[in-house]
């Protein structure tokens, strides 16, 4: 696959992974808060709510993470080429920074203090940023340039 479609696919998969993870994280933190208030939380309710959030919430987060990744991931790829030993650290940090920036911008624009419920606590914000890091790592993995070493043929070796 040539470079541009491969990078685009890597970008979309990174957004998808980050959004799925963030949605699952958002659901579990919210259900934990309700459980702490005394609500029963059997497994079927937990699974059902998680699935509903994957349909209802994940697209919202995909939009936010796509906006964040649009700036962060190309920059990370550029830096990673120049600092190969720090490649994975660069992607971890860029994914986290992308989500933090997107959340901060959303909160600045939205009428409510905090748009995403999980983002109301430092733990929740860090959790969402970690989801961004995983997405960015996937981009770093899939977007790598594959270098083919030319092997000498048997006749040449003779």
């Amino acid at each position: 696959m040539s470079s541009k479609p491969r990078l685009l696919l890597a970008f979309l998969l990174a957004v998808l992974l980050a959004s799925l993870l963030a949605s699952i994280f958002q659901t579990q933190t919210n259900l934990a808060a309700l459980q702490a208030l005394g609500a029963p939380m059997p497994l079927d309710v937990r699974v059902g709510t998680t699935c509903l959030d994957l349909i209802g919430f994940a697209p919202t987060f995909a939009l936010l993470s796509a906006l964040g990744f649009l700036l962060a991931l190309p920059l990370a790829a550029w830096l990673a080429r120049r600092m190969p030993p720090l490649r994975w650290l660069i992607f971890v940090l860029s994914g986290a920074a992308a989500i933090w920036t997107a959340l901060a911008l959303a909160n600045a624009v939205a009428p409510m203090p905090t748009l995403i419920a999980a983002d109301r606590s430092p733990f929740g914000t860090l959790g969402l940023m970690a989801c961004g890091s995983v997405g960015a790592l996937l981009f770093g993995l899939l977007g790598r340039r594959v270098r083919y070493r030319v092997q000498p043929t048997s006749s040449e070796s003779l």
Binding site: S23, Q26, T27, N30, L31, A33, L34, A36, L37, G38, A39, V45, G48, T49, L52, D53, I55, G56, F57, P59, T60, F61, A110, P111, M112, P113, T114, L115, I116, A117, R120
Partner: protein, 366 residues
């Protein structure tokens, strides 16, 4: 037979709808009000209107707005939903001239709803007293509640909000977030409040588990306290408030978050009081009254809920204490309605919520 009866009912419906639309006329009583929030009727025929931007205006009996706002108002925190909100007259206003105001108090980083009272003398506020400040102070500028009603014993109930980010605190009896509180008119706590004596509970609490209550009305004739509150996306509620009850937010709700996330998997749970009705999708109810006037005999004892998102007033029919259907009124205005009140002249008064807000008077068309 059944089919012909249905056909007759359908015909009656189609015939009655246009007639209903012609039953009233909407007059502009006053205009040029900046995001008006609440209206109160003075015994001398004049009216008081709060503007969210921190002004209290006097409106003459002919509808003209006094160009000078009432002097003596406190400093108000104004941002987003924050500002000057309710104005209500004391049940014994003719004797004591107390009027009650609610407003957002504090700063962007630390604010909440405050209740104060003052006497209106020569169109100025005197003897200003802060009666209550909801605790804790919180950041942001959302969900203040801010409506007042007086109960039969002349204590007052004040509606509050959860501040948006603190929804779980609506279940915490130790603070005022997401509660309705009941106070004596001097700000002291009535000794028969439901959580009095419960260790760690805020003694002012009358009911809990609310999101953002912007409508409350005490029906003295039937001894019923109605309120409505904003849900998130869906789940706006009309509730019958009883002392000490938990109305469920955020454990049980018909709404979902603005992001599409579930707030709760439950719409009901044991121990939580269910709403009389819920509006899903949201209409954003902003004010509640009950009509008792002579101009509209058909509207007697019906509840009227102003709405922001639907840009209407919901007429909720009440028959023998039971809800008996709804009618959507005044959509033709196309304006957010911030307040609805049953006037002493029998007309229904509306405030429209925009920078060029109006006070409207609804009267019979003939």
């Amino acid at each position: 037979m059944l089919r012909s009866t249905r056909a007759l009912m359908l015909c009656a419906l189609f015939v009655s709808t246009p007639l209903l639309a012609l039953d009233y006329r909407i007059e502009t009583f006053s205009e040029g009000l900046e995001n008006p929030w609440a209206v109160a009727f003075l015994p001398d025929g004049r009216l008081l209107v709060t503007e969210r931007v921190g002004r209290l205006r006097i409106i003459e009996a002919d509808g003209s707005v006094d160009p000078e706002p009432v002097a003596g108002l406190p400093e108000v925190f104004i941002a987003a939903q924050a500002g000057l909100m309710e104005v209500a007259l004391d049940p014994d206003y003719s004797d004591n001239r107390w009027l009650y105001l609610t407003y957002a108090h504090g700063s962007q980083e630390a604010n909440n709803t405050r209740l104060a009272r003052a006497r209106l003398v020569d169109d100025e506020l005197h003897d200003f007293e802060v009666l209550f400040t909801a605790q804790p102070l919180k950041a942001g500028a959302a969900h203040y509640g801010g409506r007042i009603a007086f109960l039969a014993d002349k204590t007052l109930v004040l509606t509050l909000g959860d501040g948006f980010d603190w929804r779980e605190e609506a279940q915490n009896p130790a603070n005022h977030l997401g509660k309705i509180v009941r106070l004596n008119r001097d700000g002291s706590v009535p000794q028969d409040n439901p959580l009095i004596g419960q260790e760690g509970a805020a003694p002012e609490i009358y009911s809990l588990g609310h999101r953002n209550v912007q409508g409350i009305f005490f029906d003295a004739e039937h001894n019923r306290l109605y309120s409505h509150e904003h849900g998130p996306r869906g789940g706006d509620e009309l509730n019958l408030i009883e002392a000490g009850n938990n109305y469920g937010w955020p454990l049980a709700t018909f709404g979902i978050d603005y992001t599409g996330a579930r707030i709760s998997p439950y719409t009901e749970l044991p121990g939580l009081t269910a709403p009389l009705l819920h509006w899903t999708p949201s209409v954003a109810p902003s004010s509640l009254t009950l009509y008792r006037g002579e101009l509209f005999p058909d509207w007697q004892d019906d509840l009227f809920a102003a709405t922001l998102a639907e840009r209407s007033v919901r007429r909720i029919r009440v028959r023998d204490g039971m809800l008996a259907g709804e009618e959507i009124l005044f959509e033709e205005l196309g304006e957010r309605i911030r307040d609805v009140r049953s006037g002493p002249d029998g007309a229904l008064y509306l405030l429209t919520d925009n920078p060029q807000g109006r006070l409207l008077r609804v009267v019979p068309s003939e």
